[in-house]
Amino acid sequence: MKGLLEICYLIGSVTFIVGLKMMGNAKTARKGNLIGAFGMTIAILGTIFLFRTEHTTPSAFKLVLIFGAIAIGTAIGWLTAKKVEMTKMPELVSMFNGMGGACAALIGLTEFQHNIGNPTALSFIVAGMVIGTISFSGSIIAYLKLSGKLDKPIRLPQYNMLNNIVLLAIVVFAVFVIIKSTGLPLAIIWVLFAVAIVYGVLFTIPIGGADMPVVISLLNSFTGLAAAFGGFLYDNKPMLTGGILVGSAGTLLTLAMCKAMNRSLTSVIFGAFGGGSAAASGDSVTGTIKDIQVSDLAVLLNYSKKVVIVPGYGLAVAQAQHVIHELEKLLEERGVEVKYAIHPVAGRMPGHMNVLLAESNVEYEKLVEMEDINPEFEQTDVVLVVGANDVVNPAAKTDPSSPIYGMPILEVDRAKHIIVNKRSMSAGYAGIDNLLFYDPKCSMFFGDAKKALTELVAEIKTL
């Protein structure tokens, strides 16, 4: 039985590696995910039916409980995951991540009593419990922020120092519990649990909502670490492999995300910008801007040869993905070539625009990546920027003092006409002005993206 179980565990471990590898490539990604799920199933079923030690007391009742719990979890998880709108994906990932963290925390909370006086086991238990708990409460805050229920970053005075003090306290407390476990009241672990919850909240709450994808990725690798500690405790290979893999891959992924946004992880965590409240550097600009009327814009678009649409965060906020697809189809009918220019960090999560536009059934071929579309702007008649700002800000190329300096951008100023749709002159995620709007070739088309584009579509139809 032990042998068979270990083989199940080997299958699980290997599928995690192979699956994760395949997920890194667009062509194999979906299959990779399924392979991971398959290995997970093997590991879970193996554990239920084959895991037997001198401590286990398997019984029919327990099996019913376990399968009952799995059934409940599967039903809720499956339905939520299937039902939720595409644009709500990040908060859902955050929520599921929090559940994993809570699971790790509960394991630590129950195992504590059985391992009093065994510092090695206790250090795994306490570490897994604390990290899992932080991941849990942090993820819940991240969820609330992303779903808009907690939209402003809340910053206590001196929050960075405060957080570090709380963290230090947790570490000291944890070490004390591990070393002096014998004689301490069992409830002490619940106190540690409570403090860890508080820390998770304190850690996440000052960070701006827009930085949440990075934070979720970080908390994700925390949960991986918590799972790995569980693996140490039980000398369980799939928990170890899966946990360490996600811990290290997740850390690298977090850094890669930061890099794509041209930010450092510390500036995300300690909030250099991102909530809009911190002062952004970079020169402030003045100049004159031009407006364009919907009727003029309709004519301009209608008689263009080639139009490129640059979608950004505002498109997602306004939920204008359907109307933009309508506009695109309309123009195509009139013989205009229309493409979408996809900046890698447009929106608030990587791939945000792809997911958003896929939802409204825009053809995949029409979505062109930054590197491929940039040379095409030269031959473009009209660039229509919808709710994007930072990703078309020329300061990234020209102004070394700008916080986004060095980020590659969509070079829309090479096109003949630039039309920008947004509600006002206010800044985007990076909180900085955009010189593009003052470009003589640029006209502003103010208004909420959904409303404005609906009018535009109606206007074009009258032509």
Partner: protein, 100 residues
């Protein structure tokens, strides 16, 4: 020296950790930006393997320890949510990315 003893005793584990960390790092290297979100979500599903620990807790708990069983029950539910939700949401996301 104690550190040396620790090292000799846990040698296999140390190599295992180092190699697994390398694999984790290598596996992610050079992933295109658009795949970051599904990859994050897929990794999220994989750490749901913590559910294996929750099942072990259930199996290990004495049959008359109601509180322990209740905690384990809850842990299994949470772990399942992580696993099932994680894989399903990733699958849905990746469906969006596939070329038609």
């Amino acid at each position: 020296m104690e550190i040396f003893d620790f090292f000799v005793q846990n040698r296999e584990m140390i190599y295992f950790i180092i190699l697994a960390v390398f694999v984790g790092i290598e596996v992610i290297g050079g992933v295109p930006t658009v795949l970051h979100t599904p990859l994050m979500s897929g990794a999220n599903a994989i750490h749901g393997v913590v559910i294996v620990g929750a099942i072990i807790v259930m199996l290990d708990t004495e049959p008359d320890n109601i509180f322990g069983l209740a905690l384990g029950f809850l842990a299994v539910i949470l772990g399942t949510l992580n696993v099932v939700g994680g894989f399903v949401v990733t699958d849905r996301m990746l469906e969006m990315f596939k070329k038609k």
